[in-house]
């Protein structure tokens, strides 16, 4: 399988976030730079989001990287996934 490009990473993360929001009965498009808390994700949803991102990309986010700044927006998560894939 070809390595994920940053664009396809972002699209997949938008997909994960959109599914999560849909199950929270929030049905609208997510902007990559939008604050996900403000978009309607609770702290519990953040657990689901991190685990879903790990499952989607078959990776484990290092403990040190589990911090608000890395999961604040689709763009931030994309950057994190990209750096884990490169480093890992």
């Amino acid at each position: 399988m070809p390595e994920s490009t940053p664009d396809s990473i972002e699209a997949r993360i938008i997909g994960v976030v959109q599914r999560l929001l849909a199950e929270r009965s929030i049905d609208r498009p997510v902007h990559p730079d939008e604050d996900l808390r403000e978009a309607g994700l609770s702290s519990l949803d953040m657990v689901t989001l991190v685990l879903s991102v790990e499952a989607e990309f078959d990776l484990m986010v290092p403990e040190i990287a589990i911090m608000p700044a890395n999961f604040r927006s689709v763009t931030a998560i994309s950057r994190l996934v990209d750096s884990i894939q490169r480093g890992g």
Binding site: R24, E38, S42, D45, M46, L49, V50, I66, P68, F71
Partner: protein
């Protein structure tokens, strides 16, 4: 006590912390219910095989109630010990679905039939609706035991968190009424006292899966002004624990509800009830529903279930106290 968090439990807590702050959504029953359903899909056990899972609608106090029966792979066609199970969730959230993995794991490890009860939730149905439903369901299951493939003499009640409250209270009410007969009570991280704040609730008030603020919010919705010393809300406050069924009580080291679980074990023991008590080191509240993210939870559920099966298979028929 190790005083060290299981590293996977810590990851879950770190993820929760990463999601706090900023302008998060307002806490509403609907939002929390939806979040827990979604979380369950991400962290639950997905691969525990059982022979069958059957939903059954029964007529109840409020019109209708769903019972979900789990049949283990071992001897699915025999009369087996049964466990009436009440899910947790403060009486405000969670469902048959959020605790599906836990029930599967318990069916598999105990070799018993597990019947999970879809009792009514607050704020739509505040206290005592959940307790009324719990007692009704336990009686119904006892009355229909043979039909469900359950040995009526070997029927346990079990629950986690607020479901543990229901299980404990059902035992107290059934003991007083003389029916139905309950052979064993199994309480996982139970809530036993809403009338005061234990040391563990104070020490672990924030950052340990369920926040004090969330607990207070849910308590207000669930109790809706009822007396917090009512033993049906705070079973630890009952002054009459003599003669209750044997108890298996489990707590988690980093759970705000740890001390009240232990206090209930101590109180039952002091009243002469046969109690086994285990505090699971390094684990957090709700660990048993997050085995997909906390591998040790799956390991712990094996002996938890095995002990249920062993106790029920060895249970002598309990005398009928009153008719």
């Amino acid at each position: 006590m190790t005083h060290v968090l299981d590293r996977h439990a810590k990851r879950v807590l770190d993820m929760l912390a990463a999601g706090r702050g900023g302008n998060g959504p307002e806490l509403t029953p609907r939002a929390l219910r939806e979040s827990m359903e979604r979380l369950a899909k991400a962290v639950d056990l997905r691969s525990v095989a059982v022979a069958s899972v059957d939903d059954r609608r029964i007529r109840s106090l409020a019109g209708g109630m769903t019972l979900r029966a789990y049949t283990p792979l071992t001897a699915p066609n025999e009369l087996l010990p049964g466990v009436v199970f009440f899910h947790g969730g403060t009486g405000v959230f969670c469902s048959l679905d959020t605790h599906d993995g836990l029930c599967r794991a318990l069916a598999a490890s105990s070799g018993c039939r597990i019947v999970s009860v879809d009792y009514r939730l607050a704020p739509e149905h505040p206290f005592p609706a959940a307790i009324d439903d719990g007692l009704f369901a336990t009686q119904w299951i006892a009355d229909h035991a043979a039909e469900l493939g359950i040995d009526r003499e070997r029927l346990a009640v079990a629950g986690d968190s607020a479901g543990g409250t229901i299980a404990a209270v059902v035992c107290q009410l059934a003991q007083r009424a003389g029916r139905p007969r309950v052979a064993l009570q199994v309480l996982l991280c139970p809530v036993t006292d809403l009338a005061s704040e234990s040391p563990s609730r104070a020490e672990l008030a924030t950052g340990f899966f369920i926040e004090r603020s969330t607990l207070e919010w849910a308590k207000a919705l669930y109790c809706a002004g009822a007396d917090l010393y009512d033993p049906r809300i705070s079973p630890l406050r009952s002054t009459d624990l003599v003669g209750l069924p044997p108890a298996q009580i489990h707590t988690a080291e980093f759970d705000p509800m740890r001390d009240e679980g232990q206090a209930y074990a101590d109180a039952l023991s002091a009243a002469g009830v046969d109690v086994s008590y285990v505090c699971h080191e390094g684990l957090i509240h709700h660990f048993y529903c997050m085995a997909g993210a906390i591998p040790r939870a799956r390991e712990v559920l094996v002996p938890v279930g095995a002990a249920i099966g062993d106790a029920l298979r060895a249970a002598p028929p309990r005398p009928i106290v009153a008719q």
